[in-house]
Assembly symmetry: C2
Homo-oligomer: 397 residues x 2
């Protein structure tokens, strides 16, 4: 009888997988430099420091007149102060220069009086309202200082980052670059292509399930900014599986196999990979997601995921997603108690509002729980559960 | 002097823009039906109801033996119950059938005994542990019931949805389909292409800023699943702007113009669009983002956004993003007081942890505040601000 005899702790399993991922990325230089616009939603492989101060000069934040602020102190509607209009790049006490939003301030000017409070008369301007130093001015480095980190290694590049990078004159950026082959396994799988009208075809589905994990894994890989390729489903047959793995390994950096990782007689994935290379992790003390395997074949990475949708989603999250991308973590009070077993990490799908509500589920195959959740809690091994009202860490999806 | 004389309320402006967007989408059938895998991250244009129960039959959730639960009551290690092994599609009292995870239960069976608690001897199986009805069974409709809505109009299709859709035999889905042309305007703009080394080129930038909003808007449009095309920056010149708008209108459903929407002498965007068609909204009582314009030219949509990065990001969020995509809303206590002006909606960028921290900012041009925020608060017109500790609605980015 095949058994996952000793379950590895999540911490150890993550450490092993992450070390191999890191090693693979570095040794194979799986990083490419691309134009920033192509980097949207990809993962930065470098810290980006600002090469300059932004703004790079003191500039007007309003249309009006650049002045030395002290010249305007005390100005009011009944008692305007009159300054000489100049057009030079430098002003002196008693002078003002007409300026538009975004223009560089002339030397010595330290404030802008909004045009609404000014009146131009010949070569003079009447100032009806005093300004303090820096008023209506965007100062050098106010937004970003030279050397500030504006994007960190591991950040997903979003539209706002693109704005920042362009503003700093940064045209190219290094991102992680990987390709994943996805191999679904299991005699019970039927292809979506074979279904024309599911209500009429429902009898085709007796004892079968539609190969749906491939679509999810494809989406998860794509959303990390990586290439994904789905291969045809493979029966529970070692030779056929070996052939599929070989093809996928040739064409990709890593392979995701879904199905056949548990201990049933039909579960041949782990054994098959063992015969082709090394299985380094098999069985992790988490729920759901226990039957996870990780191995190396031909120096490439093989992730063996459960055939259950939720379990495979959890495994992808813990062993791949979280390596590349930090999830936003917030603290919110629990809506009701959650129990957990000591010695095991529980991955609890939740809905977040003003409280965190664990989603009631009955099995690791319940796909609707994935769709309903917008975050998750990880209950550590040494915690028996949390009580209603407790502030818990929620990772947002 | 040009003035935004009367500011429209956010509510009215949104109503007008949303109605025109809705009208445009319906009249022009800007919806396409595509394969689910291509629909990743696009916006569903339909409610999807499940055509079937999922699972579509009662199935084993474990490897073991399908039984009538009542036959096993009282079974224990010291007092096993012995059942006849059968291979039929229907079992009767006193019978059991070997079954694998995922297999359909034979008729009359209502539970599965895990194989660990069974021992096969010839044509019999010894049961060492009783099960209750439904134990180790995934019941029909447990995940989704026929008619349940699994994806709503307006939902962004994520990898988990793909799993659900495939599981239900749904191959194609209708998504919104729009194209946006992006026109940056302003004499002060310099193209990123002209910068080779920003530290050396810093003098080129005196009085100029790099055209960075185009990149952000491109990313924002793309992340709604739409097509985006960036056009060359246009000087503050009506004829040149008209020409650019005409080209962009010919090639797209909608045009985003960034810059020239305020009331400075150089701000010609609104006037230019007025000469080509109708400007329906100009000036909204929000901060930042006040100088927003919306118009119709040749029956197509023109969004006139501020030239300031933050203001244009806010305008995009309020008038485009939120039309298509609901933001996740949570309630978290405020870390410190926020003041707001009565009569105006304040859009406050925040960072969320166990409290909500408003990001201190000094101007609508501060791009770093966009990068630092992971959510925002909208302070309504009739609220003067919020106090530290108050529970506030935060929209997560």
């Amino acid at each position: 009888m095949k058994l996952i005899r000793k379950l590895m702790s999540l911490k150890n399993a993550e450490k092993i997988v992450y070390e191999h991922l890191y090693k693979y990325l570095s040794e194979n230089k799986k990083i490419k430099e691309i134009n920033i616009i192509e980097a949207l939603n990809k993962i930065s492989a470098e810290d980006i420091k600002s090469p300059i101060d932004l703004p790079y000069f003191n500039k007007a934040a309003m249309d009006g007149y650049a002045v030395k602020a002290e010249d305007t102190f005390g100005a009011s509607e009944t008692n305007p102060i009159i300054l000489n209009l100049v057009e030079t790049d430098e002003i002196f006490s008693g002078e003002a220069k007409k300026i538009f939003t975004g223009d560089e301030l002339p030397k010595n000017a330290d404030a802008v009086v909004m045009k609404e409070f000014c009146n131009e008369v010949d070569d003079f301007v009447e100032i009806y309202k005093g300004v303090h130093p820096n008023e209506n001015v965007s100062r050098i480095g106010e937004d970003v200082k030279k050397g500030d980190v504006v994007l960190k290694k591991g950040d997903v590049i979003n539209p706002y980052h693109l704005n920042m990078l362009a503003s700093l004159g940064i045209k190219k950026i290094k991102v992680y670059d990987l390709s994943f082959g996805i191999i679904p396994t299991g005699d019970e799988l039927i292809s979506l292509d074979e279904i024309n009208n599911i209500e009429k075809d429902i009898n085709k589905l007796k004892g079968k399930i539609i190969n749906s994990n491939s679509y999810m894994l494809y989406g998860l890989v794509k959303n990390l900014g990586f290439d994904a390729k789905i291969y045809d489903a493979v029966e529970d047959n070692k030779e056929k599986l070996k052939k599929a793995i070989k093809t996928a390994l040739n064409e990709n950096d890593a392979v995701l196999i879904t199905g056949g990782t548990s201990v049933s007689e039909r579960d041949i994935t782990i054994e098959t990979v063992k015969e082709m290379g090394d299985v380094i992790v098999h069985g992790v003390n988490i729920r759901p997601g226990k039957p996870f395997g990780f191995g190396i074949v031909d120096d490439k990475l093989i992730f063996m995921l459960s055939g259950y949708p939720v379990a495979s989603a959890v495994q992808f999250e813990l062993f791949i997603q979280r390596f590349f991308m930090k999830r936003k973590k917030i603290k919110i009070p629990l809506k009701r108690n959650i129990a957990s077993e000591l010695g095991r990490v529980d991955f609890v799908r939740v809905r977040v509002d003003k409280e965190v509500e664990p989603i009631r589920i009955t099995g690791s195959g319940v796909i609707s729980s994935l769709i309903k959740s917008d975050g998750y809690i990880l209950i550590p091994e040494n915690v028996e559960g949390y009580e209603k009202g407790e502030l818990v860490d929620v990772y947002l999806l």
